[in-house]
Amino acid sequence: MTESLPKQNNNPLTAPFRFIEEQATVGVQLIGQVCLLFVKTLWYILRLDLDWRETFRQAYMIGWKSFWVVLITAIFTGFAMSLQISRELVGFGADTAIGGVVSLALIREIGPITAGVMVAGRVGSSIAAELTTMMVTEQIDALKVMRVDPVRFLVVPRYAAALVMIPTLSTYAMFVGLLAGIIIAKSAANLPPETFLDSVRQTILDRDFAVHYLKSAINATIIIFFSCAIGLNTRGGAEDVGIATTRAIVWTMTAIFIFNFIVTSLTYAPR
């Protein structure tokens, strides 16, 4: 008696649905892994069970080494945004509001997003590549054999460092962007810096800073946990390191934009 194998569904009409099903399964798995990792990491952090030396090393890698790339991005984002806003507001005769509008955009959206995206590209990808390489070369197995928890050793210091450094980078991006805005407002709209800063002071509320730091902390969480979950759950060879890196960038950036919108809609939606 011959046993029939299950028929493979090659119907082109159902192909898009199969693709969606596959992607949804992978996505749900990854979100589950991220949640487990988050809970375990939080457990270590709440007990202050931290490898401080490694945390400082990671702070240097995540924070200090991103300063230049965030500086350049923030300058040019500030330039472009200020140029657009100046042009429109001068047309309406509202040039004194340039500072307020530019700072609102920078504090509420552009600062956290710029720092988040740049760190996701630079740090998230490198974390995913590093951890996948460690998986492939059995370094993670070596840690387990030595009874060292890979989460405590690899994830906790990275998260603790990112929680401090990513909000710092966001603040830095915000100030650099404001400085770029002042330069453009002066040169394109002939607006004195004092007027620009007066407008900033009148527009910005404490709540805007709170939202800024909330978004930065969420970005840090997304970058570290998605990158680490992808890195710690990838097996295979050199090709998989590249795949994991790409996956980490795609997932972290997508999640950053989605959560940015969620926070904005919860805090600034018209009532």
Binding site: M134, Q139, D141, A142
Partner: protein, 252 residues
């Protein structure tokens, strides 16, 4: 007739309780059955050679012993949880110095830095790397990395040492050096050791007892000397590296 040292050692070993025992262990990955009822015992002070062609389940046994994998059925009885594993590819953490790589294995003992340094220095000297404490793995040669991996595996004085293909990829001289280290460490630490290898010189020079695996099962067991002259078709083929025999039958 007078007993020689090897016979005395063998008799003493067998008088003890085994430090590690596998009883009828099965393991599958998906539809592929990797281990099909593997059973063996290892005693303190003994070096067991686990040999066989690639893919016969040798490394899976190591992962099960270390707790990295769970067997589907069967029992793994460990009379000590102090296990040191020498990985095939060294598996040193590149971001850490040689000292810190070894210190990781001592972390749970919560020693002072001075005590840690003392132990690390002693173990590194044992493998001839006393001057390399502050070096990073990427600054070491392949043989030095392998020896560092040895030092890391023994830094906490384990009762069970597992060597996963320790001489693969090394030149014959370095292989001999590594094999000598293995025999020396086995004697010094009185640990139960298992070496997974398909390198002829490694199992003939180091193992007190040899187990040949094929297709997830043990097909022969005996001393290296007996293995060299065995009539068992599997052992005969493996020892002579011949194409003729039951292994890989049908492979052109």
């Amino acid at each position: 007739m007078q007993e020689n040292n090897a016979d005395i050692k063998k008799r003493n070993i067998r008088d003890q309780e085994p430090i590690l025992e596998l009883r009828d262990v099965y393991k599958s990955f998906g539809d592929r059955q990797i281990l099909k009822g593997v059973s063996f015992k290892v005693y303190a002070g003994e070096m067991l050679g686990l040999i066989g062609p690639s893919g016969c389940g040798k490394s899976t046994i190591f992962k099960i012993i270390c707790g990295l994998l769970e067997p589907d059925s069967g029992e793994v009885i460990l009379r000590s949880n102090d296990i040191g594993l020498v990985f095939q590819g060294s598996a040193l953490l590149n971001s850490l110095s040689v000292r810190d790589n070894l210190a990781l294995a001592l972390e749970r003992r919560k020693l002072s830095r001075k005590d840690e340094d003392e132990i690390i220095q002693q173990k590194l000297s044992l493998v001839g790397l006393g001057d390399y404490m502050q070096s990073f793995p990427t600054q070491l040669s392949g043989g030095q990395q392998k020896r560092t991996s040895f030092a890391r595996a023994i830094v906490d004085d384990p009762k069970i040492i597992l060597y996963d293909e320790p001489t693969t990829g090394l030149d014959p001289v370095m292989s001999t050096v590594i094999e000598d280290y293995m025999s020396e460490l086995s004697n010094k630490l009185d640990a139960a050791s298992i070496v997974v290898t398909h390198q002829h010189s490694t199992w003939t020079r180091t193992a007190d007892r040899v187990i040949l695996m094929y297709s997830g099962k043990i097909v022969w067991e005996g001393s290296a000397e007996q293995g060299m002259h065995s009539d068992n078709p599997y052992m005969k083929q493996f020892a002579s590296a011949s194409r003729e025999g039951p292994m890989l039958a049908g492979v052109v």
